[in-house]
């Protein structure tokens, strides 16, 4: 657990980067600091491992005032993933990852074994261990950065815009990787970003900062969306708040049966019919026509997104994107189990609201 108690940081030139911050990061969760550029996210983060010391106030990590701990010792117990990885260019990937264990006095062999394990954990082939950072792609470097921070198995992990240097596709991979890792490792993670989508995706709780180092809101993501504390948060969280709120609702939506047909079959199609393959996986829609037709590839209207039962958002999008207005529901194997309707989603939302599941 990390507690900020009335923490203020004023730099020598008078800039107040963080202003009377009070905030508690729960153990075992990912907490995201988000806000526009220059709002004090990095400064707040770096006060935790004493890369910066606060002007006033107290920061406790697991109940201990960080100012009472010698900084290098403190830092060895706190993983720190820096923007653009910040790897040591002169060391191999393996030695980069082994840094903290070696600093903490592990013997070389053990540190390296551990480092090799970690490379696997973050999804890198151990063969990369012998390369130098310059020989890796941006996304691979980020993974090494995460592995390095995890090496000494610290209970606390600080991550400062760790994924900002990679393109959106790789970024999504890394985010999913982080969520998978956290499910296994259960660290206390503080994650800084200025990308609200990333914050909403990763954060169990999100702290929205605004210029001047003020905490504008500290809440669960769904709460930010449905009940932004003020105009700043509302505008920062951006449009689509209502739609995004659905991400966090997992209420049941009724799944309706749907008429299906296989390619090559001869059928009469009165209404929209879902064409599937041998494994019952969706191929596309056939719109209603008069009389009997043979189902051919060319007649198919391709299909809209699929709904895998994850959240109301997926259900609504499946329905909205489907030419038949029916969202295709699939199981884990990708086989069709039925369809959902947009109306049902809207009713499910209303029900969830009434049940108080949507924060106000």
């Amino acid at each position: 657990m990390i507690e900020f108690r009335a923490v203020t940081k004023r730099f020598e030139d008078g800039t107040i980067a963080v202003d009377e911050l009070d905030l508690t990061v729960e153990a075992g969760t990912i907490t995201v600091f988000v806000g526009p550029s220059g709002c004090g996210k990095t400064t707040s983060l770096r006060m935790v491992n004493r890369m910066i010391d606060p002007t006033s106030g107290t920061i406790l990590v697991d109940g201990r005032d960080v100012l009472t701990v010698d900084p290098p010792t403190l830092r060895r117990g706190i993983g720190y993933v820096i923007q653009q990885a910040g790897l040591f260019p002169h060391r191999t990937v393996l030695d980069n990852v082994a840094t903290v264990p070696l600093l903490s006095g592990w013997d070389k062999r053990r540190a390296r074994t551990r480092a090799a394990e970690l490379l696997e954990i973050v999804g890198l082939d151990p063969a990369f261990g012998k390369r130098y950072p310059a020989q890796l792609s941006g996304g691979q470097q980020q993974r090494v950065g995460v592995a390095r921070a995890l090496a000494a198995d610290p209970p606390v992990l600080l991550m400062d815009e760790p994924f900002s240097a990679v393109d959106p596709v790789v970024r999504e991979d890394l985010q999913n990787e982080l969520l998978r890792l956290q499910a296994e490792l259960d660290k206390t993670i503080v994650f800084v970003t200025h990308d609200i989508d990333e914050a909403l995706k990763l954060g169990e709780r999100v702290a929205v900062f605004r210029k001047g180092g003020h905490l504008a809101q500290y809440a669960k993501p769904q709460e930010l969306l449905s009940a932004p504390a003020n105009d700043f948060v509302a505008s920062f969280v951006g449009r689509d708040r209502g739609y995004r709120t659905l991400t966090f609702l997992h209420a049941d939506v009724p799944v309706h049966p749907v008429a299906t047909a296989k390619l090559g079959e001869r059928i009469t199609v009165a209404d929209w019919t879902l064409v599937v393959d041998e494994q019952n996986r969706p191929k596309g829609w056939l719109s209603g026509v008069d009389g009997e037709v043979e189902v051919g590839e060319d007649d198919l209207v391709s299909g809209g997104s699929l709904y895998d039962g994850s959240s109301l958002r997926g259900a609504l999008d499946a329905a909205l994107s489907s030419p038949s207005a029916l969202g295709v529901v699939v199981d884990d194997a990708g086989a069709v189990t039925g369809v959902v309707k947009a109306d049902d989603v809207i009713q499910a939302l209303a029900k969830a609201r009434a049940a108080g599941e949507v924060p106000k």
């Binding site: 290098p72 117990g77 040591f88 260019p89």
Partner: protein, 221 residues
Amino acid sequence: MGAWLFDPAHWSGPTGIPVRLLEHLGYTLLTLLIAAVIAIPLGAFVGHTGRGGFAIVGLSNALRALPTTAVLILVVLWAGLGDFPVYVALVLLAVPPIMAGTYAGVRAVDPMAVDAARGVGMRESGVLLNVEIPNALPLIYGGFRGAALQVVATATIAAYTGAGGLGRFVFDGLALQEFGQMLAGAVLVALLAVLVDLGFAGLQRLTVSPGLRPAGTGGKR
């Protein structure tokens, strides 16, 4: 010049070319060692703390301005003949480039890497020794090799005070109007400089991490 250089008589005895070469090399290496011991810690410290950079650049430029001959003469006038004045003059010559190279090298280390070093819990000494210096090595070598070239070239002046080295040939050739000998001396100096530089280039290759080689030579991508 060729005639002088390839005359076997000039290749033996206590005043022969091999002896002079070794003497010259001796001046060079010891000078570089002393200069490195002075300049690298100073440059590294200033580079690390970031304080006094302006002074370091100014100081090293002022040191470069010291005419080696004058320093040599002054020290001879004060302390008498011998190797000491030669080393004083040459060390003063070698310090500025090494110091400037070290300073620039440490300054140029990726601030992210330095930040990360602190972030993983290295102490300041560790940051300097394990991250900044290894990463600054290419530039440190740059300064060092520049200094080596200058020292090899300038160690010639040792002969001015009656000491040995290849400068002997240059000065004697000058005094005797034997331009063959003088040119041979100059060529030997240049040759030695190239060899010394190659030697340090090899050392650099061995001691600088492959991760720091310019893109393309650091292995496949």
